[in-house]
């Protein structure tokens, strides 16, 4: 199983100028920012793309202002929310019917996304091939057949592999919730 770096460790590497760290940070949070834009605020793709790029541009420029490296996720969430609201208000000037979503719904989504990020971290810890199989099935909505063809596996075995992989992720999550064993 792969050992995942903490958010704080990743941010510290970005601050230190490690060129690979920024790529990893974008990789780690791209789905999160994308989900807030597209699912939380239901922005159209071109608006979501603008906000997505602006979030990462501001994050890159202002990473040194982050008070606590481990708070990078809520910081990105707040930045994304503010930019989505700004975009919706600009859109509403041209199309007054443009509705802003209920912020309580966005709060609920963010809470669910935090849980989803914990599941993704567990999935990263489990590693491939489970990561790829579950990502293709749940996140990319691919069929058993497509997954089987892509990975060179019989389509008839994909369902059982998904089940076994989910069990592995569940085991990792269960271990995390119990915390480290006392020394």
């Amino acid at each position: 199983m792969a050992v995942e770096q903490s958010d704080a460790q990743l941010v510290a590497r970005c601050r230190a100028g490690d060129p690979a760290a920024w790529n990893e940070l974008v990789e780690r949070f791209s789905r999160y920012v994308f989900a807030i834009c597209s699912r939380g605020y239901r922005l159209a793709p071109h608006d979501a793309e603008d906000v997505f790029q602006e979030v990462f541009a501001r994050a890159f420029e202002r990473l040194s202002e982050l008070r606590s490296d481990e708070a990078v996720r809520p910081w990105l969430a707040q930045l994304t929310r503010r930019l989505c609201v700004d975009r919706l208000r600009v859109l509403a000037r041209d199309a007054p019917a443009t509705a802003e979503p209920d912020e309580r719904e966005v709060d609920d989504l963010l809470a669910a996304l935090d849980d989803a990020m914990a599941v993704r971290a567990a999935l990263d810890e489990v590693g491939d091939p489970c990561r790829e199989i579950l990502d293709r099935f749940f996140c990319r909505d691919e069929s058993y057949r497509t997954i089987g063809e892509a990975l060179g596996l019989p389509a008839g075995t994909i369902a059982s592999r998904i089940s076994r992989c989910l069990e592995k992720v569940r085991t990792v999550l269960h271990g995390r919730s119990r915390g480290p064993a006392p020394s």
């Binding site: 974008v26 990789e27 791209s30 990462f56 541009a57 890159f60 849980d115 989803a116 999550l173």
Partner: protein, 83 residues
């Protein structure tokens, strides 16, 4: 928090991948930022280039040998407006 397998699947579905091009563009920000610094320095020492930027920003950026990415163009435009 304890999850069953159905919940794990539901949570995974909340995080589909962002389009690859968006992720790549965000990952290229450090290079774009370096290009921005170079272009600003060039504009500070070269009055003709400053005029070119004001006349047609994207063309001036491309003529200077840089990719006029949305990030580069928006940040340069903001700087020019502030001057």
């Amino acid at each position: 928090m304890a999850y069953d397998e159905e919940q794990i699947g539901r949570l995974l579905r909340l995080l589909p991948p962002a389009p690859e091009g968006w992720v790549r563009a965000a990952q290229e920000l450090p290079a774009a930022r370096a290009a921005l610094d170079e272009l600003v320095a060039l504009a500070e020492r070269d009055a003709a280039f400053r005029l070119q930027l004001q006349a047609d920003l994207e063309r001036a950026v491309a003529a200077a040998g840089y990719e006029p990415s949305p990030y580069l163009v928006s940040r340069l435009r903001r700087l020019l407006e502030a001057v």
